[in-house]
């Protein structure tokens, strides 16, 4: 907060006084106020100092410019800003009308307060939304020439050999680097054993990104050779948390639980942004020329830097050709060429921020609509204010103020409101944005970069000024057109012209339409979230916990050791009190991870590439389906006996349909490699939403655990008879009893995992809901304001009607019907716009149509209801009008 104040202070105090004033205020704040009054009150004090100092500094600067001998403003006796002489400086004139505007606004505190609050909320939201937009989408990635970086084929990993082939042959790429995701265990340092995500990268990785370690060095080309040294580079955060930022760590070895120690060669700077959000350590990627094929367990990705003049499409064509040549030259690489041909070379930026692009734009558009509503609202309030001052303005016109002066004065008033609202909005954004960022899912990209930067501040100020101009333009123009003679005649409806009333009506239509659009968007988000939540995941997460120990290779050197550990663990967990069933899987549903393989049905033409289908593979410990409450639809589940045999598998319904076109496929055989023995299908289970509640099920195959498949470590799934929480603790402890030196990177109730898979939907539903509420509130305030204003101008007429015997119900009905008409028109326009815009948000909506009639109808109903409520008060006031009093007032 204080830096914002400091900026303002520097701005208003100018170059000569600004720096020292800011320094001193800051010093006072830190040394005296903060210790005496506590953070909150000290900050308020700081803000107060800045606000109260601003007029002094501004006056000082204006005087300094004009050097006028008589510095006291000449406010005239009429309470107007006074006549403007030809010699008046422009700044002085502005100051004078600003002061007058303040006086006018202070005289109507409720109205001005409502306007300022409206603008503050809307501008706060808008500024915060722009902050997100700027940090995530607009600001380029912190890499060298980031627009030239591409990710080759992000959907399907490549073999390291393919990457080498691309590097050697691609002309459209000046540089090619590869990486593999890795999980690394850190067993030493000043914390418990811990598993972090990291990557194995080629030696050119950091150079390609244009960043490098701040301490030590990067990787050397020879370290990518099969017998290169065992070296590691740490992220700044990991270095700080685990090794206390000790610079001496460079050159020392760390214990990764691997057979050999790793030597730390470098520390990355705090500003380095890994390709994936949470990488904390890097080791060299070994490009082993001996393994030419596509190794099941090696799944590397390629990053390239485009040559000048090449495009992602061009690179795509070239890469596809290179791989095709390679596959022809080196047969037996299980890699389907069509997958590559349809594969894409995608700008790196797209891979990183692509998934959230649409959501963020939706947010920005939603907030923009809110801001428009707010402007319409304030415009309406200002018109009401101006109409009520009809006489005063008319007097001033009659006394010689020209049209320009009146317009300028009204315009100044709206600008004053905008500046006040803007200041409040900035403060709101400054406080609310970090809080909102904390609510975002941790895997959302670039959230750490979100904040109120200087650009964001400038945009916020710009938005405030534009809002002021928008809100003020129309009332100012209309007022200037009013004929002073009419208003001065002292009768009529306080000089409210037909133009003014039509404009009121137009603004109400606009406001209602915008509110409908915002509320429909929010309704769709809420209903999508709800639809996703009520989706059947394909398993029963109630009372199930999952724990994943990570085995260090030094202690479990062979695959057999690892498999044995998991079988021991299964027995141990099954023996815990309150445990019903224990299974295991790699990978657990709704956690990231998994591998796809190509399978074909025995009996089809294996030479034909069409026979090979992409299927997700899971490794399970028997007991998995039972612990997850998954139904076996045909055949049987897996048993311990299957472990030894290792020739059977279970498919899900989607896989059965993809491979065979039918459901009951028990007894059929499939193969992954024509060289290997085929696997027999013993059962078909129901589909599971592996990717999250709102993701469609994938074709999957469940293989019984075999020794060579446990390298990644299993998730052990434990079904409790009762509450999940005590079992979770007991399971953790049981694993640590088995081996106290293992990190347990995942230990969580399955319900939490499931819930997290829709966090993004939850956040957008909550956010959109808040917007909609605010939008409706604004709409209600606007409608209330206009109706009560209109009623007040019609009091005379109403009085006459009451005097002539009209019943109060008729009067109420009259007011409400007249007020409701523009709202209805607006609702119609809004519903139509929402209908038309439906296609644009198709991909954000889940489980309901983007043009959902229920949502549209509900929103139309709610807005109409809100409008009705807003009109009741003014209508009742009209009906209680005392004719004598009303008529006497004139």
């Amino acid at each position: 907060m204080t830096w914002l104040g400091e900026r303002i202070l520097r701005l208003v105090a100018g170059r000569s006084l600004g720096p020292s004033a800011a320094t001193e205020l800051d010093e006072e704040f830190r040394t005296f106020i903060l210790p005496e009054r506590g953070t909150l009150r000290a900050r308020l004090w700081y803000g107060g100092q800045v606000l109260r100092s601003t007029p002094h500094f501004l006056r000082l600067r204006v005087r300094g410019e004009s050097e006028a001998p008589n510095g006291v403003g000449g406010a005239s006796g009429f309470g107007g800003p006074g006549p403007e002489g030809p010699g008046d400086g422009r700044v002085r004139r502005i100051l004078r009308s600003t002061r007058f505007a303040f006086r006018v606004l202070r005289r109507r505190p409720v109205l001005s307060g409502a306007a300022v609050l409206t603008l503050a909320l809307a501008l706060g939201f808008s500024t915060a939304a722009y902050g997100v937009l700027e940090a995530v989408l607009l600001r380029s990635l912190p890499y060298e020439a980031p627009q030239k970086l591409v990710w080759v084929h992000p959907d399907w990993p490549l073999a390291p050999a393919h990457i080498d082939a691309i590097r050697a042959n691609a002309r459209s790429l000046t540089e090619v680097g590869g990486f593999e995701r890795r999980l690394l265990n850190f067993l030493d340092g000043n914390q418990d054993p811990e598993q972090v995500r990291g990557a194995a990268v080629t030696a050119n990785h950091f150079d390609m990104l244009g960043s490098g370690p701040v301490l030590g060095r990067g990787f050397l080309p020879e370290e990518s050779q099969p017998d290169g040294g065992n070296v590691i580079i740490l992220s700044h955060a990991l270095w700080a948390s685990r090794y206390g930022s000790d610079p001496g760590i460079v050159g020392r070895t760390v214990d990764l639980g691997l057979p050999v120690p790793y030597t730390v060669v470098g520390i990355m700077g705090p500003g380095h942004r890994p390709i994936e959000e949470d990488w904390a350590a890097w080791v060299p990627l070994r490009l082993d020329p001996a393994s030419e094929g596509w190794d099941f367990w090696r799944s590397a990705y390629a990053i390239g830097r485009m040559a000048d003049g090449s495009t992602p499409d061009g690179v795509n064509g070239e890469v596809a050709q290179i791989i095709e040549e390679y596959v022809t030259r080196v047969p037996g690489t299980a890699f389907r060429i069509e997958d590559l041909a349809e594969a894409r070379v995608v700008p790196l930026e797209e891979v990183i921020v692509g998934p959230v692009r649409q959501g963020i734009w939706a947010l920005v558009i939603g907030v923009g609509l809110l801001l428009l509503i707010a402007c319409a609202n304030v415009g309406n309030l200002l018109m009401a204010l101006a109409s009520a001052r009809q006489r005063e303005l008319a007097v001033r016109r009659a006394l010689g103020a020209d049209r320009g002066q009146i317009v300028r004065q009204l315009f100044t008033e709206s600008m004053v409101l905008a500046v006040l609202g803007g200041t409040g909005g900035m403060a709101l954004a400054h406080v609310a944005l970090p809080a909102a960022v904390r609510l975002l899912p941790p895997d959302m990209p670039r959230t750490d970069e979100i904040g109120i930067s200087f650009t964001v501040l400038i945009v916020g100020v710009g938005l405030a000024l534009v809002s002021g101009a928008l809100a003020g333009a129309l009332p100012a123009y209309l007022q200037s057109r009013n004929d002073p003679g009419v208003a001065l005649q002292g009768s009529g409806r306080s000089g409210v012209t037909r133009v003014t009333r039509r404009t009121h009506t137009g603004l109400i239509i606009l406001e209602s339409a915008l509110a409908v659009v915002v509320a429909v968007g929010a309704g769709l988000m809420l209903r999508s979230f709800n639809a996703a939540l009520s989706e059947d995941p394909g398993f029963n997460p109630q009372n199930v916990v999952a724990v994943r120990p990570s085995l260090a290779r030094a202690r479990y050197p062979t695959d057999q050791d690892r498999a044995q550990f998991f079988m021991d663990a299964q027995e141990r967990l099954a023996a815990l009190p309150g445990v019903e069933e224990v299974g295991g899987i790699l990978f657990l549903p709704m956690t990231s991870g998994g591998w796809r393989g190509l399978w074909a049905v025995i009996g089809t033409d294996l030479e034909d590439e069409e026979s090979w289908k992409g299927i997700s593979n899971r490794t399970v410990l028997p007991g998995y389906f039972e612990s997850m409450g998954m139904r076996v639809l045909h055949g049987r589940s897996l048993t311990r006996e299957d472990l030894a045999e290792n020739q059977v598998t279970v498919v899900n319904q989607a896989a059965a349909r993809l491979l065979f076109g039918e459901d009951d496929v028990v007894g059929r055989e499939v193969t992954r490699d024509s060289e290997l023995p085929p696997r027999r299908i013993v059962g078909v289970v129901e589909d599971v939403r592996q990717g999250g509640l709102d993701a469609d099920p994938l074709p999957e195959m469940y293989h019984p655990l075999t020794a060579e498949q446990v390298r990644g470590g299993l998730y052990l799934t434990v079904k409790a008879a009762g509450e999940a929480e005590p079992v979770l603790l007991a399971a953790r402890q049981a694993l640590l009893d088995l081996d106290p030196r293992i990190p347990i990177p995942h230990a969580e109730a399955l319900t939490a995992t499931v819930r997290r898979s829709v966090t993004m939907r939850e956040v957008s539903a909550l956010g959109a809901g808040a917007f909609a509420l605010f939008g409706l509130l604004l709409g209600a305030v606007g409608i209330y304001g206009v109706t009560s204003f209109q009623v007040s101008t019609q009091m005379r007429e109403v009085g006459v009607r009451v005097a002539l015997g009209a019943r109060s119900t008729r009067i109420v009905r009259g007011v409400v019907v007249r007020g409701l008409l523009p709202v209805q028109v607006g609702v119609g326009v809004g519903v139509a716009s929402a209908w038309m815009a439906g296609g644009a948000i198709e991909s954000l909506v889940y489980g309901i149509p983007a043009r959902d009639p229920t949502t549209l109808l509900a929103v139309a109903g709610i807005l109409t209801g809100v409008a009705l409520i807003a009109q009741v008060g003014p209508a009742l006031r009209a009906s209680r009008a005392d004719p004598v009093e009303v008529l006497n007032q004139e």
Partner: protein, 111 residues
């Protein structure tokens, strides 16, 4: 306003504070001094505006110095002319107050 030689009320407070704080005469210290002695939380802007005005009138002069930490700080020093005006103001005040006993005035005068 002009150099007639009598200080405005706030100008007087600022100049007196300047004398009280002696060496530590920068804006914020003056603000604190006034705040402590008067119990009024005056704004730094008001102090600065007055200091600038007084400087322009030739009552005091300022130099830009480095505060601890290398940040800029403007320090003020009373000039002889300023001291003279201050003395004149005190004298004027004393003369005006001579023989006035506010408590003896009674409450009827329309407070």
């Amino acid at each position: 306003m002009s150099d007639s030689g009598v200080l405005g009320a706030f100008e007087e407070l600022v100049l007196l504070a300047l004398i009280h704080v002696e060496d530590e005469a920068y804006g914020m210290a003056l603000r604190r001094e006034i705040a402590q002695r008067s119990g009024r939380d005056v704004s730094i802007g008001a102090v600065y505006a007055t200091l600038t005005r007084l400087e322009k009138k030739g009552y005091l002069e300022s130099t830009l110095q480095e505060a601890p930490g290398g940040r800029p700080r403007r320090t003020y020093r009373l000039l002889p002319f300023g001291r003279e005006v201050l003395a004149r103001t005190q004298e004027l005040r004393a003369r005006m107050w001579e023989g006035v006993d506010v408590s003896a005035l009674g409450g009827g005068g329309g407070s």
